[in-house]
Amino acid sequence: MEVNRRDFLKVLSIGGAAALTGCSAQAPEKLIPYLIPVEEIIPGKATWYATVCRECPAGCGMLVRTREGRAVKVEGNPDHPVNRGRLCARGQASLQGLYNPDRIRQPLLKDASGTLKPVSWDEAEAWLISRLAELLQQGKGVGITWMTPHLTGSPDRLVNQWLKILGSTRRLRYEPFAYEPIRTANRLTFGREVIPTYDLESSTVILAFGADFLETWISPVMYAREFAAMRAYKDGRMGRFIFIGPRLSLTAANADRWISVRPGTEGVLALGLVGVIVAEGLVKGLSQDEVGRIRALVDCYDFKRVSEATGVEPEEVKRLARTFAEGDPGLALGGGTAVSGPHATTTLVAINLLNYVAGNVGRTVRFGPVSTLSQLSTYREMLDLIQAMEKGQVSALFFSEVNPVFTMPKAAGFERALGKVPLVVSCSSFMDETVAKAHLVFPTHTPLESWGDVEPWEGMHGLMQPAMQPLFETKALGDLLLSLAKRLGGPPAQAFKEESFYEYLRARWRELHQRLQSDVDFETFWVEALRRGGVFEAIPAQPVRLNVQALSQVLEEPELAGQADAFVLLPYPSLVHFDGRGADRPWLQELPDPMTQLTWDNWLEVHPEDAKRHGIEEGDLLTVKSPDGEIELPAHLYAGVRPGVVAIPIGQGHTAFGRHAEGRGANPLALLPKEPEPRSGGLPWLSPQVTLARTGKKHLLASVSGSDRQFDRGIAQVIPLAELQAYAGKEPHDEHKVLQMYPPHEHPNHRWGMAIDLNACIGCGACVTACYAENNLAVVGKEEVARGREMSWIRIERYVEGPPERPETRFVPMLCQHCDNAPCEPVCPVYATVHNPEGLNIQVYNRCVGTRYCSNNCPYKVRRFNWFTYKWPEPLNLQLNPDVTVREMGVMEKCTFCVQRITEGKERAKGEGRPVRDGDIVPACAQACPTRAIVFGDLKDPESEVSRLRQNPRRYRVFEHLNTQPAITYLKRIRPSEEA
């Protein structure tokens, strides 16, 4: 590669500028070899690039930290309005997509024997061009079909344009969770087929009907942040949250109450609530006339009937309605697989009506900006495609990063129909079940290597830039399409002026520039957009009116028909694997599911009472049978599913998709029926009839939890709201004084400490994965996790309190407490763990001989031992953080409070000639936390946030009586008042 000195410096100057501004204006076009060490490149200095997370359709802004040309960590972009600097576990794990050892590394072409063989890019493109030219000649261009996931902005436009040039409009944006019932219900009730903005933060009461908004629903990081703000205790009050649905999900576990209803009757309950609100005159902001018409609609849903249908106590229905109507404003959310039964649209219409009568529409439910998920293809459109494929109307199918073979019900027959398509071309990064069926496979860049833009909500233009050079011989989808068009020649070649997708993208952004900010020159606009991660417009909400007429036809009695002895099956999107696309990321496999605490697997949740009746025990391998299919899954006894319901997480059961994903559990989609819900055309996830039978085999489930109960040991504490209100400025009690044998440690400059607000912690596990990414934690695999040897430095302990019918779930992030009187320190015979002058309990890996005495003596059990020298399958090793030692076998390790970040923060402050400021240093866990539950800082600084939180009346320290003097203060979770 020829790089002359001038080019070299030019590229470097951009890099240097990027280092100053924080983000790069342009990725280097070619890899720079360090032949001549140049002053501007400072080895050991990180460069950050702003981009957008593509792990789910939420479109969170992301900053990628690169070192020596390699992406090593991703964090939320504080400037991005979706996530405001926070990121979930799946976002953190996007790095393991980039560095996945099972990425497709070169184009593959299916030979006569039906196996995919590697070919060169040139061969692959030439082969495709000849096939396409053939098709076009035969006039079959109209049958060319493109299927992408949720795409917006330039890539979306390019795909459509490309397709149009070839003479086709067959285009699908396929997501397994397409929110059809929400969109249809909004069309029916308000005349707009969209997903509106839900304002959780301004609500004082949230009622969620099945919507797992803290996990996977629409935009979980955004909702988690808003939810935490809504739940925060201020001025003697906190927001209320009630969850309604057949399963205690992570979201439900964060509610004041989980109301378990008969599956499919959420809509009846919503109408019952409307009925009570109307009857008791609690309606807000509606004319008498309108109220009258609504009353006529819901008249038949008196609370007694509702109670019978749903299984909720009559008084409870009333109380619930009053609580919701008190909301100023309130917010009812509906969605998720739990309410996506055969009557999903009706349920969502009922919820719309509930929001309407409570005066929330226009306040917390706003039609603008709307989600671009509103443009997704419906499940019915996918069925239409399958039909067209079966009939031979699809002459060529192109797809990119979608996996319908895995994510559609088997009964829908996508896989079979795919066999009828003469030309199937995949443009994906991973060999999943669908890609394996393609005739030609183009490996594409992962999002971290790509240019692009993402518009999750109207007017929110996130900009993606590559954080590093492509790892393999892959191409960006956009570049591939442009290259194909060029090769086709003729009109297609003329249609595109741009040489690369980068230029194409810039051309579209020139339009944005014209529209939004024509007062500055384009380059300034562009660089600023790159630096901030995009351009964000404010889109005003549009007023909507209720269409009462349309409603009268929709509101019918929802009911799930089922046999008496059959279970209702509830498949739910897994927090870590989403629809299955996270299953090849080892971090996500090893991250315990928060409610079941299980890792590396798939399971069937069955209520202990049902299990007892059917003689099922934990880990029994069951045959799960529905009219449409049959799978085998191990049973997990879970009191959080309603009796009569069984739940299965979606996302495992891959037969392809790499070493980490394959052969784990089974895919519940095999059990679902083909027929869509008639009104919305969505997939009815809730399948009414499954039966269970024991196979007689046992299956090992790798749980990380040693106990569900904390036996009054005061690890996860709560404070009743009334008690907290009673304090009102008074100090609760003083920490008891103890006699010390040794003089206290001196901390001349800093004393690092942490405060963890259990009222904010939702238990999502983002901090855990962030810690894996930052601190080079090893992934040990299922068998080792089952032995208790997972390496996580921070874990979310989950405890269940209260009676089984009204469980109270408590989450506690547990990590090294950096005790002032650390029990681990005196017992180490070789001084491998010592107290440093800044209050850190540090572990000296090189000195450790591995007696493990420190771990025995740690009451918090946060020390992890290297049982082996763990391996990172190449190229996952490229992600390793160069600032953190990779540990070898035989040494102990644990949380360091991200000492590398502390050092970096101090160095930065020193370089700028100022003292370290509060907030300069943020450990990876605190940085990731979607709800800002973790606050880190200097306890020596009385003004720091952590020092102030240490004075909070909710404060406590775990095992205070042991006199370990932890540096971590927990703030008790607030238990709201009992009623409702």
């Binding site: 106990s707 208790g788 997972e790 015979p829 001989v849 493990r852 025995n856 059990k861 102990m892």
Partner: protein
């Protein structure tokens, strides 16, 4: 007192040196079997060093398990020797003469076995010398606050004193052996005899040195196991953190040590036909001591439970509840029954004077005492403060093989000892015999 006035000095010399004659088939078969087990254990250890401690059953939170169990067990076994040879010597207990050599050998070999385990259980055993008290890495001493360093001192001190005591006691016997041996054996025994001529001066020095060493070794019996117990008691693990641990462990150590001596003496006496020297009277006295130690141990078990209940400490009480009723309850009941109930059978004279009963019960006590350490270590770690981190330990082939190998290692030394050194002190036996009247044998 040694039975029969018919025994004389020459007879004693002949009888006791006979054990050192060339071995029979049985001996070689035993030796072969022992070496095979030992090699297997070494293979398991090599596997563990090469692959990592992960091949063992150790886990989070049970970071110590049967390696430390073995360590404490073997240190415990080592207590019999010093007790019998030093303390009983100081108290002028006459029946000690016939058994003390074997007891001392058990001490030395048990310490050699015990000493392996702190290294076996290290995550990085190749750095074991960092635990030794010397200035390392440019000025760093080990952490003298750590009980593990106290262990190093205690065990090393005990080992050195025991060995010196053992070899000192051997000197006059080695002279007897030297006088009758030929070839390389003569050189070996000559070296060990250290030029012993049996002169008055030598005897005077010898007896005072022996007395001095006995006095030096006696406090060690108490201190070593007290220090070992502090590995546990000094930590804050519920079930470990207890002031009773030092006396409790010392009693347990003597209990197990006596049992091991009985276990070894009985076959030894049979094989070498030493009934005249190790008589029922000797064994009965050992059995009486076992009753005493068994009672102390039993009392400790009860006290632990009483304190756990009386303290009203949730963590402590749960730990003890779990011991008796939890996953490892079987081990707990083995410990209770074998260590404190079964030894009570020795109150019955018929049983304590019956060799099969003695032998059987001594083996049960050995098993029980091994499980005592297992129960203390594993059950306490399995249920500590944080319920979320509760977990179980199940041994795997590597831990079990290394444990088996350690027994083979111990018995290898014992087998060699039985063939190369007089298993009974010739000199002290002779002290018990009536002095010869004239020359040669007496009638």
């Amino acid at each position: 007192m040694v039975t029969g006035h018919q025994l004389g000095y020459v007879q004693a010399d002949r009888d006791l040196l006979k054990t050192m004659e060339p071995a029979g088939k049985l001996y070689y078969m035993l030796l072969l079997a022992d070496v095979v087990v030992l090699l297997w254990g070494i293979y398991a250890w090599m596997t563990q060093i090469y692959t990592g401690l992960g091949v063992s059953g150790l886990t989070h939170p049970v970071m110590w398990a049967i390696y430390i169990t073995n360590f404490v067990f073997w240190v415990g076994i080592a207590h019999s020797g010093t007790l019998i040879s030093a303390i009983l010597f100081l108290f002028r207990v006459r029946w000690r003469a016939s058994v003390y050599r074997t007891a001392e050998a058990v001490t030395v070999f048990a310490l050699m076995t015990a000493g392996l385990f702190p290294i076996v259980h290290l995550g990085r055993p190749w750095y074991f010398y960092w635990l030794l008290p010397y200035k390392q890495m440019g000025g760093l001493w080990p952490n003298f606050r750590s009980p593990l360093i106290w262990d190093v001192f205690a065990v090393f001190t005990y080992m050195i004193v025991s060995m010196v005591f053992f070899f000192t006691g051997l000197v006059p016997d080695m002279a007897v052996a030297r006088d009758q041996a030929k070839g390389w054996r003569r050189l070996l025994y000559g070296f060990l005899a250290q030029g012993w001529q049996g002169t008055d001066r030598q005897w005077r020095h010898y007896t005072s040195a022996y007395l001095f060493l006995a006095a030096l070794a006696t406090p060690l019996v108490i201190s070593v196991h007290s220090v070992v117990s502090w590995d546990f008691a000094m930590s804050m693990v519920p079930g470990w953190h207890s002031t009773i641990f030092a006396p409790y462990f010392v009693a347990g150590a003597i209990h197990s040590g006596l049992a091991m001596v009985i276990t070894l003496l009985i076959p030894l006496r049979r094989v070498f036909r030493l009934d005249a020297y190790i008589t029922q009277w000797h064994l009965e006295n050992l059995a009486k001591l076992v009753i005493l130690t068994g009672l102390i141990v039993g009392y400790s078990y009860v006290t632990e439970y009483f304190i756990a209940w009386y303290s009203d400490n949730t963590f402590e009480w749960e730990s003890f509840r779990y011991r008796a009723l939890g996953h490892y309850a079987w081990a707990f009941w083995i410990m209770i029954i074998f260590n404190s109930l079964i030894p009570l059978l020795f109150f019955i004279k018929r049983l304590r004077t019956s060799t099969p009963w003695l032998f059987g019960i001594s083996i049960l006590i050995n098993i029980g005492m091994w499980f005592e350490r297992f129960v203390i270590i594993v059950t306490s770690l399995a249920r500590e403060y944080d319920p979320y981190s509760w977990g179980l330990y199940t041994p795997r082939w590597v831990d079990l093989s290394i444990t088996a190998g350690s027994f083979a290692w111990f018995f290898l030394w014992f087998l060699l000892f039985a063939k190369f050194l007089p298993v009974i002190s010739i000199v002290e036996v002779k002290e018990e015999l009536p002095a010869p009247l004239k020359a040669g044998e007496t009638g």
